[in-house]
């Protein structure tokens, strides 16, 4: 891996075949694909570098090695009310998250923007669920008229899902379900006795509701020298490479080619546009250490800065030709943002199985794929659908009021297993709506002089109606599973905490209503490609990262071929 010598100002030294903006979940795939095809590639990352293994500073620490036993200090929580809401933000992982004042933004409506500014981005701390999107997900906009029609269908992406799955390593079972197509899977991790019970009971009660093992980017078998050790400390960075992260998989692959120049501490201020040639010439970068402004040029540019930051960059890339942001002839840039509705939770207690437990910490759980508004299930109250993430665990500590509250009696109670708990979180698709938007502040800028982003995103009536249905089906699924004392709750969490922001630079067939064509290529600027979450024309209800990765690999392949044909 080669860090650019900052003193080299000569234009030649600052020219690359390709520039990739963002070294995270999706950008790292562009880096790998381009570098392996022989393109000299500059990979820009606004945060620091995190090298696999070497920089995982907390990965092997035990609870007692943290002064507060892995609890966030109240003053950190108080100063960082946004990031502190994230389930993965802990004493062991604070170094992987962006603190609230590091990069401010304006909430026109409440929006919890959870970020990771480093090589690897959020791929270091993600939840690793990788369900493929369904055939019907790419047809949804066309069918109900919300958002613009996707210019691609499932079959266009299927080989690229396979491509990234084979290399990343995905554990899962081939379940043969329309809602989550099968892929290239390593064997699934195994069901506990309780999980088997849940599957059997739910599936015998509901023919169309399936309880499957969530497909995850954790390795159930050794794969390219990596394997999951069942520690369940993924978010700290895994020294065994047990799960896919850019740091452990794609960035090292790109580096191994000798074609990658990785440049951390590089905030991209704008994409430069040349009106005479009708294409982008490169990027203007601010070195966050030296404050130096440096221009890099390239024949092709891939934007993978994470959805909202990609939008910020494109909106800030203004020229006479594009006064409202590069490629924005349609006025759709920053519109149709979408996300996932994770508000509804259901949980309860399961009697029995007192003689069963497990060993090892399985870094994932069960999944109930979407069953609403597909097949014969037609809902009158809402469009699209939702899935459930499902967990089960056994409480530690079995308190007995007949025993002494102190002494060996207490110790005994604390060291016994209690009953089983089962719970689910609904994961709902949010409609792409023109009203959900981001824009640039006209008055406020960040420490680099770049306008702050204003986020104006909310739930709509469709999501509220869907919440009501999730409460009902969630409770009836748990009931069918024999779960007692069922509690249903609405977290009322703001958009953003799902950490699945998407859209704003959506793909579409018509340049009048969309930014990108079916190859993630800007309609109006042929050598700029955008393939992170911002390119999504709809959200589906599956965790989206695997789709970003597949799309980026596909776009990179196309960009390379076009470049070789001289078509860019």
């Amino acid at each position: 891996m080669n860090s650019t010598n900052l003193n080299i100002k000569a234009k030649k030294a600052n020219h690359f075949d390709a520039i990739v903006i963002g070294a995270g979940m999706s950008g790292s795939w562009a880096a790998k694909e381009f570098c392996e095809k022989g393109l000299k590639t500059l990979v820009l990352e606004r945060g620091r570098n995190i090298e696999h293994i070497k920089d995982y500073t907390t990965a092997t620490k035990e609870l007692w090695e943290f002064p507060y036993r892995n609890t966030i200090h109240p003053s950190i929580a108080k100063e960082n009310p946004i990031v502190s809401k994230c389930y993965a933000f802990r004493e062991a992982t604070t170094q992987h998250f962006v603190l609230d004042d590091e990069h401010p933004y304006i909430q026109k409506k409440p929006f919890d923007w959870i970020r990771g500014y480093q090589v690897g981005g959020k791929s270091l701390m993600w939840a690793r669920h990788v369900q493929r999107w369904a055939r019907f997900d790419f047809e949804a906009n066309s069918k109900d008229g919300h958002g613009v029609d996707w210019p691609i269908r499932y079959d266009d992406l299927a080989p690229w899902y396979s491509h990234v799955e084979r290399y990343a390593g995905i554990s899962g079972n081939k379940d043969g379900l329309e809602a989550v197509p099968d892929g290239e899977f390593l064997p699934p991790m195994e069901f506990t006795d309780v999980e088997k019970h849940l599957k059997k009971n739910v599936e015998s009660r509901f023919k169309d509701r399936h309880v499957i093992f969530a497909r995850v980017a954790n390795l159930s078998r050794p794969h390219n020298g990596r394997v999951c050790m069942y520690r369940s400390r993924c978010e700290r960075g895994c020294p065994y490479g047990g799960y896919f992260s850019a740091n452990s998989v794609t960035i090292p692959a790109a580096a191994a080619t000798g074609n990658m120049t990785l440049r951390p501490f590089s905030v991209v201020q704008e994409i430069m546009y040349d009106e005479n040639h009708g294409k982008a010439t490169g990027v203007r970068v601010i070195d966050t250490n030296t404050k130096e402004v440096i221009e890099y040029t390239a024949d092709v540019i891939m934007v993978n800065a994470g959805a909202i930051n990609s939008l910020l960059l494109m909106m800030n890339s203004k020229s006479e030709r594009f006064p409202n942001g590069i490629g924005n002839d349609s006025g759709s840039l920053g519109r149709y943002l979408t996300f996932h509705n994770y508000r509804i939770r259901v949980r309860g207690e399961l009697d029995g199985f007192e003689d069963k437990y497990f060993f090892g910490r399985k870094p994932t759980g069960l999944y109930i794929p979407r069953f609403r508004n597909i097949g014969n299930d037609i809902q009158k109250d809402f469009l699209r659908g939702y899935s459930f993430g499902m967990w089960s665990n056994r409480g530690v500590g079995k308190m007995d009021p007949n025993k002494q509250p102190i002494g060996s009696d207490l110790k005994e109670q604390l060291s016994e297993l209690g009953g089983w708990g089962v719970g689910m979180t609904g994961m709902g698709e949010v409609l792409p709506r023109f009203e959900n938007k981001v824009s640039l502040s006209e008055t406020e800028t960040d420490q680099w002089g770049i306008p702050l982003i204003e986020i104006d995103i909310s739930y709509s009536e469709n999501e509220e109606k869907m919440c009501e249905d999730i409460k009902v089906t969630g409770a009836e699924i748990l009931e069918a599973a024999g779960v007692k004392n069922i509690q249903v709750s609405d977290s009322n969490q703001a958009p953003g905490l799902d950490i699945h922001e998407m859209g704003g630079c959506q793909m579409g067939k018509d340049p009048k209503t969309s930014m990108l064509n079916g190859w993630n290529q800007m309609h109006a600027v042929k050598n700029v490609f955008v393939a992170d979450g911002s390119a999504m024309a709809s959200a589906a209800c599956q965790n989206p990262s695997i789709t970003f990765m597949a799309m980026t690999a596909r776009a990179s392949d196309y960009a390379f071929k076009q470049l070789k044909k001289g078509a860019l």
Binding site: Y68, P81, G407, L414, G421
Partner: protein, 195 residues
């Protein structure tokens, strides 16, 4: 995704003793807690006294060392100093003063046990905050996240290396130290429950 029912697990474990979550107040009320750089507000004698009381709450038994070996007094110092607000600190310190005045360390084990059982009753009889609940809560939290406990009360397996989905269990069996799934999540919920 939520892995467990956090509040429930806490309550089972006695961490929500009396329904009060000490320390959370600092975060919720906007009082700024002390910095993290000093040695804390308890002196060595007080830490030693707290270790003695904690040992009565969670004693050494035939198969595992107790709270004193886990040095939960030191952990209490970290949390009381850095997480508790001024009012909570004041109450905690008044409690420690009271215990010091009783010459707790001079008592026999039976006398210590009776003394702590009396405190249990006293704390249970009032709906107000009681310093004993703070001590007990911190004892349980500190012990169950300690190296001693992981190695002796449970099977410590930081790198399990494999997953066995079905292990037979009967009361009294040792099982895998539940470090990540239970404690990390719970302690987060404990201090940020209203966020």
């Amino acid at each position: 995704m939520d892995f467990i029912s956090r509040k429930e697990a806490l309550s089972r474990l006695g961490l929500f003793v009396g329904g009060v979550i000490f320390g959370a107040e600092a975060f919720l009320s906007g009082c700024s807690p002390r910095g993290t750089s000093t040695n804390g507000i308890l002196d060595n004698d007080q830490i030693s006294l707290l270790n003695d009381i904690a040992e009565i709450i969670i004693p050494t038994t035939s198969d595992s060392a107790g709270a004193k070996a886990a040095n939960v007094g030191d952990f209490m110092n970290n949390i009381v100093s850095d997480f508790y607000n001024e009012e909570e600190q004041k109450q905690f310190l008044e409690g420690v003063d009271l215990l010091e005045s009783k010459n707790f360390e001079q008592l026999s084990t039976q006398e210590k046990t009776d003394f702590v059982l009396d405190l249990e009753k006293e704390a249970g009889a009032t709906s107000d905050m009681h310093y004993y609940l703070m001590v007990k809560q911190l004892t349980i939290w500190g012990y169950l996240t300690s190296e001693v406990c992981a190695n002796e009360l449970f099977i410590n397996a930081p790198v399990p290396g494999y997953y066995d989905p079905s292990v037979d269990y009967k009361t009294g069996d040792k099982f895998m130290f539940p470090n990540t799934a239970i404690w990390e999540a719970n302690n987060k919920a404990r201090f940020h429950s209203n966020s």
